[in-house]
Amino acid sequence: QSTLVIAEHTTESLTPITLNAISAAKCLGGEVSCLVAGTNCDKVAQELCKVQGVAKILVAQHDAYKGLLPEELTPLILATQKQFNYTHICAGASAFGKGLLPRVAAKLDVAPISDIIEIKSPDTFVRTIYAGNAVCTVKCDEKVKVFSVRGTSFDAAPISGGSAALEKVSAPSPVGQSEWVEQKLSKSDRPELTSAKVVVSGGRGLKSGDNFKLLYDLADQLHAAGKKTRLLIGQRLLLLAPELYIAVGISGAIQHLAGMKDSKTIVAINKDPEAPIFQVADYGLVADLFKVVPELTEALKKK
């Protein structure tokens, strides 16, 4: 039994979800290898060598891997699989992993398993369906198990203490069907939503966009206190599991609750005592947000 983890990176550094995927791979038992493909992989390969629990780092360098396009990475993974015969292939369930793994699986003639939250045994996985409103356990009898890993469900593998061996793998000839043009990442001194320790989320109770200033002030205050804080505005189907989730003026529609139920602590501020959000909140404050949010910001300042 052996597992290949496909590393996600920005050329400059390893994307954190890769460490969660490595942890999931370690749960399976057997040897864990990591494949790093890119235009210039040295830095990331060195970083990966030190990650605990990884036996081997396979490095494939080619200009065709610019942007880590699935059309180009798939033949590389297939060639690697042919050579090493892994029983499992996985990656983080990010846009990268979700885009890539089903393509690889189809080429291997197997059905993949998406976004797993638990590994019961090497062929039995747990995942959520209906936006987290049900939990499904599946048994996969495919010859190779291909799966993506929900980052918030597995701890990150420690980034020191490892001593993996490096091995070069040759790149198959480029496919040339697709070309990476550009990437526009939202620039912010704030952490990524999915990695924020604290998320302040505002809903309809705020009435107009101008009132979001109230939340920015609160978020800034928490951020200044050394907690990586992000503000979430509007409803996006996002899965968040921060340490602290503050829902302001959110009544708690089903989709919303599904996205944040894994938060460690939930605070809800809403003037409607019957709002569904109070059914999941650890601390609920029934009050007019326009009054109490500034009070809370002030109280945090004084602290």
Binding site: T74, Y283, K303
Partner: protein
């Protein structure tokens, strides 16, 4: 290839309506579907809308819509026809097989149909809101050996290429794909229209071909088996606090501030 020569195949899935609170069956074999409102998967609606807009811009000459599943899928196909698709195809799946029908089998059907119909664009939703798999588009592209523009927030047709802006973690990415290609729609690609009454009437006259997976040479066996479907662990409601001070005290106690 002239852009107006593009022909599009759009996949649509019939799912439990997004506003319904799903209930897990007591025997844990799945969720309750009987007597529950079903609709077109919202991401599929976006895919249909995009195909129809491309047709209105004369970049696509024909929009064929396909659904795989029981008889009722024809209602979902009719909805797409009322939105402006030209004709429908229903791949009827017997109930016994439908239980185990996964994205891989659907991808095989879509790839076979894409070849049979000679389309050069397959448009799908990025994922279904029931199984949340997010796989069908990628697998269809793999089976056809076509490039894939997943999680699209903007699609531009430009001669023999598609430029696709994609939603990725923390921002947007632009890729250029050689046609033929598979595109999967994300939430912000467009806002689907409502079908008007005249268009709903017109859609009744449009043709829906019915076929079986075996007619397309697709085997429906699955090697992934659902062992159980359960309720997620419930969070228990905590306490209501009386004031901001009490809230701050609680947050201090639990080490959050």
């Amino acid at each position: 290839m002239a852009a107006s020569g593009l022909r599009a195949l759009v996949g649509v899935k019939r799912v439990i309506d997004y506003a319904v609170k799903v209930r897990v069956k007591p025997d844990k074999t799945g969720v309750v579907t009987d007597g529950v409102k079903h609709s077109m998967n919202p991401f599929c609606e976006i895919a249909v809308e995009e195909a129809v807009r491309l047709k209105e811009k004369k970049l696509v000459s024909e929009v064929i819509v396909v659904s795989c599943g029981p008889q009722q899928c024809q209602e979902t196909i009719r909805t797409a026809l009322a939105m402006g698709a030209d004709r429908g195809m229903h791949v009827e799946i017997p109930p016994k097989d439908y239980e185990n029908l996964g994205p891989f089998q659907v991808a095989k059907i879509l790839a076979a149909l894409a070849k049979k119909e000679g389309v050069n664009l397959v448009l799908l939703g990025k994922q279904a809101i029931d199984d949340d798999c997010n796989q069908t588009g990628q697998m269809t592209a793999a089976l056809l050996d076509w490039p894939q523009g997943t999680f699209a927030s903007e699609v531009t047709v430009d001669g023999e290429h598609l430029t696709v802006e994609r939603e990725i973690d923390g921002g947007l990415e632009t890729v250029q794909l050689k046609l033929p290609a598979v595109v999967t729609a994300d939430l912000r690609l467009n806002e689907p229209r409502y079908a008007t009454l005249p268009n709903i009437m017109k859609a009744k006259k449009k043709k829906i071909d019915v076929m079986k997976a075996s007619d397309l040479g697709v085997e429906l066996t699955s090697r992934v088996k659902v062992l159980s479907v359960e309720d997620p662990p419930q969070r228990e409601a905590g306490v209501k606090v009386e004031s901001v001070d009490a809230l701050v005290a609680k947050l201090k106690e639990s080490g959050h501030i």
